[in-house]
């Protein structure tokens, strides 16, 4: 029963779209229909295929099967310019902009306004940019260089850019991720305004608040496949979750029961110049401490500073009672603290090198005979880890670049395990990997704590944290907003704290 299924042909339609990369089937025949004057919410877990679908709609990828229809006509979209020509624009998750150039230039990049045939018309562009920003209720000046803006402001410019094309379809991919509650409300206003102008809007978000606040209809993807669509009025949040996940939530996150011990890490009043301040928390043995927050809250910056990569100006860190002033990752690793970064490609594994070379890298000094490499010891260590983590590979000399995303993540985790750490900091460990490997990572975290390690888990996925963590530290704009015990976990409280809505409780030690 569908309350508001429209009659006219959709502004943009995906029918039976298939797309694969190498051996991975990213999309296995999905449908998506966007109608003018309606907001369609697209839901799905990480890896469900949402960004792939967006990239097909904006012409960055070409589908292997199925068709794309604009206003009922099949089209072949080849690249961003082509998508713009068909009236399709997008606001992406990762900003695709130029730091050195001005806001005006960023807004009009790719479609500059000209005076005559050759010369650029900066005056008109500046005026238009100012108007767009004004409509978005932003006080950003058009001549400002992009690099001097904050993350949230850059996002506004991205939205302005999408709106600068006179498009019929506007795609928004996680637009509220970096915004405060007030800014989110303004965004909703913008979306409603666009709706009233008759545009078809695709709104992708993890947050159910967004979906229920602003979407008229929903579509759910799961594991690259189409699960269902319908009117928002006809479903509840639980229905959607069930469609997204396909199984009940509690089974997804196996949390072992362990005995939590004494504090192993105590952080008091830690602060840096511009990134975080007044950070105090404790990590206990065999504990999983979750860190939640919006994008840009400062969690990664905090972890990097703990790892010796940032500049700490205030406060102290005690590792098992001993004072630690980390100036380089080497020191921190030697003390048994390990950091698995979010951007796996960039900072996790060295893709052109072999599995063995990657796994042994942080431990190389221990394995070597004096300054010389020790093949036998390296092979022994690698085989051990590969077996323990069930890394799917041909042999340990295979290049890491040839492995799947999930197995690459295992190699990264493996290289850290090999250093025999006591504390493991995981930054978004399951971001962008398929469901199967995600569960594996979770059960693996469980295994870590069973074996006596302590884990700090930074994640933007609330269900994951609520399932895995013993306590959750919520950060907001560089400060701790709230620390909650497992018994107190409540999605509304956590998200409100992360959005800066709750008065903070500073000086709370566990």
């Amino acid at each position: 029963m569908d309350s508001n299924a429209p009659a006219a042909p959709p502004a943009l339609s995906l029918q039976g779209i298939k797309k694969h990369f190498g051996g991975i089937q990213a999309l296995s025949g999905v449908d998506l229909h966007l109608h003018s004057g309606q907001v369609m919410g697209l839901l799905g877990e990480n890896g469900a295929g949402k960004s792939t679908a967006v990239k097909i709609m904006t012409g960055i990828y070409h589908p292997d099967g199925g068709q794309v229809l604009v206003a009922g006509q099949p089209v072949d979209i080849r690249g961003t310019q082509d998508a713009w020509a068909h009236g399709i624009t997008a606001v992406h998750q990762e900003t695709v902009m130029f730091d050195e150039l001005s806001v005006t230039e960023n807004i009009f990049s790719g479609h500059f306004l000209k005076r005559g045939k050759c010369l650029l018309d900066w005056a008109t562009m500046r005026t238009r940019a100012a108007k767009l920003l004004q409509d978005l209720e932003s006080d950003i000046r058009p001549e400002t260089p992009l690099k001097s803006l904050s993350v949230a402001q850059k996002h506004i410019v991205e939205i302005a850019r999408a709106l600068s094309h006179d498009s019929s379809v506007v795609i928004m991919d996680e637009p509220t991720a970096a915004l405060s509650v007030h800014e989110i409300e303004e965004l909703y206003q913008i979306v409603r305004h666009l709706k009233s102008l008759g545009k078809a809007i695709l709104f992708i978000s993890h947050k159910f608040d967004d979906i229920f606040a602003i979407c008229d209809r929903y579509t759910v993807f799961r594991d690259g496949g189409f699960v269902g669509e319908g009117s928002i009025q006809d479903v509840t949040q639980d229905d959607l979750v069930r469609m997204m996940v396909g199984r009940s939530v509690s089974k997804m996150f196996p949390k072992p029961v362990v005995e939590i011990g004494e504090p192993v890490l105590e952080v008091k009043g830690l602060g840096s110049a511009t990134e975080f301040d007044a950070i105090s928390f404790t990590l206990r043995k065999r504990e999983v401490l979750g860190f939640y927050g919006l994008v840009g809250a400062g969690r990664t910056e905090l972890m990097e500073a703990l790892f010796g990569l940032g500049r700490i100006t205030r406060g102290e860190i005690r590792l098992k009672g001993k004072l630690l002033s980390p100036t380089s990752p080497r020191e921190v690793i030697d003390q048994g603290v390990v950091y698995v970064p979010e951007d796996r490609q960039r900072a996790g594994a060295i893709l052109p090198m072999s599995i063995q070379q990657n796994i042994t890298l942080p431990s190389i000094r221990r394995l070597a005979r004096g300054p010389f490499l020790n093949d036998r010891a390296e092979t022994a260590m690698t085989d051990g880890i590969v077996q323990r983590l069930a890394v799917k590979c041909a042999n340990s000399n295979q290049k890491v670049s040839e492995l799947s995303g999930g197995n690459q993540q295992k190699v990264v985790i493996g290289k850290w395990l090999a250093t025999q750490p006591e504390i493991v900091v995981l930054d978004e460990p399951t971001k962008g990997i398929d469901i199967g490997s995600k569960a594996a990572v979770h059960s693996f975290i469980g295994e870590l704590v069973t074996q006596g390690l302590s884990v700090i888990m930074v994640s933007s996925e609330l269900p994951e944290l609520m399932g895995m963590a013993d306590r959750i530290v919520v950060m907001h704009k560089g400060r701790i907003a709230r620390i909650l015990e497992r018994a107190e976990f409540d999605p509304e409280t956590i998200v409100s704290a992360a959005s800066g809505l709750l008065p903070t409780a500073v000086g709370e030690l566990a």
Binding site: T80, V96, M97, S102, S109, E275, R479, T504, A505, E508
Partner: protein, 331 residues
């Protein structure tokens, strides 16, 4: 964007002006008509080549082969002039541009189509072009009396007191200014160097633009090759050797980022002015010209260090500056 550069360019302009004043105080002959004329002509040549050098640097590349290109074109046109002394200047210029273009396209082919790093390609073509000069001339020089009259007369001819070289340079630099600031193709270069993947996303074709850039440097080198040889009335294998360092120095001093995406023409011109003033001032204040190289190296290092300090980010700004201290809430 413009505001920041305005500050930097203003400081540089102030430094250059003070330099002029200081030297003039020490040796007033520096500001004599003859001396100023040399300054302007030197500045015109360096300015034109430095602006040309800026283009590949904006896209994240570099062109070390420009002076070698100049030498080859200069020698080729010189030999032509020797063989046909009455050849009209327009034809000479056309040939110079043609040769320069071919050499530049050679660079561009390897850089744009094969994706080989510009430093490596131009390091190689730097030698190849230079060697070609030797092959062409068989090591012989072309001296003042060998040139045809029109060839020598044109560049140093005068219009309103300034040499033709100065006018040509001014024209070209003005055109470059319009190109870089008011034309899409020019802005695309900034985008390409600033964020190559974003540039691709908005439809900027990296291959075509890179080819264009090295063709332009080739054309500029061709033209300057002729002007240089005509100005000094001599052509031999080693002309303009080491000149690429000066063009790069002018860019770096002028605030062009070696990694691409940032740079202004006024900055580059001020950088060129700075170097030209220092080099011409040395003999006047009795410093041996052998100091030129060391000074230019030291200035490049100083400029690049100062650039990096001002660019260094102090980390993302996440904390809000005027936050009211958080209220304590018992949980």
């Amino acid at each position: 964007m413009n505001k920041f550069h305005f500050n930097r360019d203003a400081i540089l302009g102030f430094i250059v002006a003070s330099l002029l004043v200081l030297i003039a105080l020490r040796a007033p002959v520096f500001l004599s008509a003859g001396s100023l004329d040399t300054l302007v002509t030197d500045g015109a040549l360096l300015g034109m080549m430095a602006v040309a050098q800026m283009l590949p640097i904006l896209t994240g590349g570099i062109d070390l082969s420009m002076p070698a290109n100049m030498a080859f074109t200069g020698m080729a046109t010189a030999l032509l002039s020797k063989a046909h002394p009455t050849m009209p200047v327009l034809l000479t210029v056309a040939i110079a541009l043609g040769i320069g273009l071919v050499l530049g396209a050679f660079n561009g082919a390897f850089i744009a189509y094969l994706g080989i790093p510009p430093i490596v390609v131009t390091l190689g073509t730097m030698s190849i072009f230079r060697g070609a000069v030797f092959i062409l001339s068989r090591g012989a020089w072309v001296n003042a009396q060998d040139f045809g009259k029109p060839y020598l007369a044109f560049p140093m001819g005068r219009l309103l007191g300034l040499t033709h070289i100065a006018w040509i340079s001014a024209l070209i630099i003005a055109a470059a200014y319009v190109f870089l600031n008011h034309m899409k193709k020019g802005r695309d270069l900034y985008a390409l160097g600033g964020n190559p993947s974003a540039a691709k996303y908005v439809g900027i074709n990296s291959t075509h633009n890179k080819m264009l850039v090295y063709v332009i440097t080739g054309l500029a080198s061709g033209l300057c090759g002729y002007l240089w040889v005509a100005r000094y009335a001599i052509a031999y294998t080693e002309i303009a050797m080491g000149f690429e360092l000066q063009t790069i120095a002018a860019c770096v001093i002028g605030g062009v980022s070696i990694t691409g995406g940032r740079g202004t023409i006024p900055g580059v011109l001020l950088g060129a002015a700075f170097l030209v003033i220092i080099f011409n001032a040395l003999p006047i204040i009795n410093v041996s010209p052998f100091w030129q190289m060391a000074i230019s190296g030291a200035v490049v290092l100083a400029a690049v260090i100062l650039n990096s300090r001002s660019e260094r980010s102090q980390g993302k700004v996440i904390l809000e500056p005027n936050r009211v201290p958080a209220a304590k809430v018992a949980l």
